[in-house]
Symmetry: C2
Amino acid sequence: MMFKIAFSFLMTPCLCIGICHGQSKKPAAGSQNSEGVFPKGAKITNSNFTGTVYLYPMIAADSINATDVGNVTFEAGARSRWHLHPGGQILLVTGGKGYYQEKGQRKVILRKGDYIKCPPNVAHWHGASADSAFSQVAVTGREKGPTVWLEAVEDTVYLAGER
Amino acid sequence: MMFKIAFSFLMTPCLCIGICHGQSKKPAAGSQNSEGVFPKGAKITNSNFTGTVYLYPMIAADSINATDVGNVTFEAGARSRWHLHPGGQILLVTGGKGYYQEKGQRKVILRKGDYIKCPPNVAHWHGASADSAFSQVAVTGREKGPTVWLEAVEDTVYLAGER
C-alpha cells in the first residue's frame, strides 16, 4: 500500500502538485512512522544508499515553487552516498539518532529537534547511527539542478569518531 | 532564555547563517516543544496574529538559499491574520490540531503528519483549533518578497464548519 502511494508520487508529479496546492495532504491510515512524525513511505531501491532507507515524497517542486520536501527514514547503519545539491538542502530531524558529515569535516550527531542547512555544492552524507534508526525531513531546492551522487561512504568513515 | 535565543536569531541573520551552514543546530536544553518536535521559541508580539503564538526561527534565508524555516506554535484559539506569500509556503504539521483556509474556500483540518503547499499570492490563514494547540514548521521562499499581511480573521470565519 505504502509502496503504491510513494510510487504514484514519484511517477506523477503533476498529480502531486494538484493535490498539494492549497490542500491538506492526509497520510493513509496506519502509515505514520513510529520513528518520526511523517509517513515512512517505500523502501529506496536505487544504489544511492547503503542499507535500508525509506522515502515518503511530500511536496514536489514545480515551476513556481522549486522546493522538494520528502521524509527519509534510515534504519540503523544505513546512510546515503556522498553527494551534493546545487541548490543546497535543509534537514529537519524528527526522530532517532543520525549523522551528517561534510567532506573534510568531522561528522556531527543529529537527534530529534536538530536541523542542518547544507551549503550548495558541498559534498556530504547523512544517515542513521549504527545502533538507531533516524528520520529527517529533507527540504531541497531544485532550481539549480538535481542532486549529484558520488562514492559510497566506507565503513571506516562511517564508524569514525562522533562530535 | 528562549526569548534571548529567538531574539538573537531575528536580529542577527548573518550570525544565524554562519552557525547554520554545515553545522548542526542544537536547541537549548529544556527548550523542546511539548506540542511538537522543534523548540517553541518566543512569544510573537506583533499584530499579525490573534491570540498567543510562539516563533522559533530555525533557518534564515540567504543569498544562495532563499528559504526561511521556522517553527510556529499556536495556543488553542490562536491564528494568523489573512496573509499571502509572494514565493509560496510549505507547512509541515508536527503536533496538535489546527486549520488552514484559503480565501473563498472552506477551512481544512490539519493534524500531526499533515502538510500543505500554499500557492504564491493566495490569501490564506492558519492557526490552532479552538480546543487544541497546534505546531507547524513553515518553509517560506523569500526570493520574491516578504509576506503581505491583510485583515484579521473574524471569529465567525474562524469558527465556521470544518471539513
